[in-house]
Amino acid sequence: MAGTADRVDPIHQFHIVDLFQIGQIGGMKFAFTNSALFMLIAVALSFLLLYAGSAPRALVPGRFQSVAEEFYSFVHNLVRQVLGEEGKAFFPFIFCLFAFVLFTNFLGLIPYFFTVTSQLVITGTLALFIILMVLVVGLAKHGLKFFGLFVPHGVPIFLLPFISLIEIISFLARPVSLSLRLFGNMLAGHIVLKVFAGFIVSLAGLGFGGWIGAIGPLFMTVAITALEFLVAALQAFVFAVLACVYLKDALHPHH
């Protein structure tokens, strides 16, 4: 994505573009953006994979069914390991979360595609949703005892205010760290990728010596692309694991 002349703008890929306007809400423009488009594509693809995978219902799975089954049982095992049998109710939620983040991360790696998870608004919304769910589930299941989460056992009484303050801040920091990590990983990875790819274009414009010199950045771009695939999968996994871990606190406030 070379900008004007031979200057490459690594931030350009994160621009939100209105594709068409749907209407106005209270003077605010309400438009269908490229971000919304790729969210829709991610949802459609994950739906298609699972639908096409479960359609044959064969005893010996084919390729699609095998992928869909592995996908399902991977998340299923994760939820069961972290949350136990009573956490089964959260499996659909965690699965949707994991599928959405995984597909948007992977879609972002295709050239010219928009990376939805490189927007703090998206990751922040997901993280806030998780933490609100923890609060609602915790309060519904344990009532006010849920706030025992902030009062650890065996702490001397004169230390309790400080410890509680720290516990409350650490609880409030969870959605922030959750959203910052996914956002930061995707943003940084894509910028680095664009910068190295930009070196190739700039160097190649210098003539034959530049062509030789461009081999280094080309190698780096290939290597970073591979790394980004790893990061995309890993961060989706980490996001789902931490959602499970936080939900565990809602189920069992006394750790």
């Binding site: 005893l59 303050l165 801040i169 650490s170 409030l172 760290s177 910052l180 890993l234």
Partner: protein, 135 residues
């Protein structure tokens, strides 16, 4: 012998046969566990030693970093907001910034503990390494 449990060759799963409908939930659960247990002995441990140790470490590093940043950030923001509400300029900012620092460290220690529980101490040492206290 086990004719009843064999597939009928149509490739269909689901409630095709009459006796399938009689399978109760706990029976299904038991059979699922047995299948998983037998699968676990045959399949290599993909998650445990899948060669993605360095990938896990990178993720761990990012967890430490984000945990630290988030703690201090949230503490500072709460303090700044309280000061802004109560007009008590730097007092709450200082207290909550320190509290946020403490929360960040607590979170990092928890992450480290969880990571250490997965890899028990000394497992990364070479086998048969000398133990100082015994010699």
């Amino acid at each position: 012998m086990a004719n009843k449990n064999r597939p009928d060759g149509t490739g269909e799963t689901g409630r095709g046969n009459q006796h399938d409908a009689e399978i109760r939930d706990d029976d299904l659960e038991r059979r699922r566990r047995e299948l998983e247990a037998s699968l676990a002995t045959r399949l290599p441990n993909r998650l445990e030693d899948g060669g993605s140790d360095s990938a896990g470490n990178v993720a761990l590093v990012f967890r430490f970093a984000s945990e630290f940043v988030a703690g201090v950030l949230v503490g500072g923001l709460i303090g700044w907001g309280l000061d802004w509400l109560l007009g008590s300029s730097p007092i709450f900012l200082i207290v909550f910034l320190l509290g946020g620092f403490g929360a960040a460290l607590t979170n990092m220690v928890r992450v480290a503990k969880a990571a250490q529980a997965k890899v028990p101490l000394g497992k990364d040492l070479p086998a048969g390494s000398v133990d100082d206290e015994d010699s």
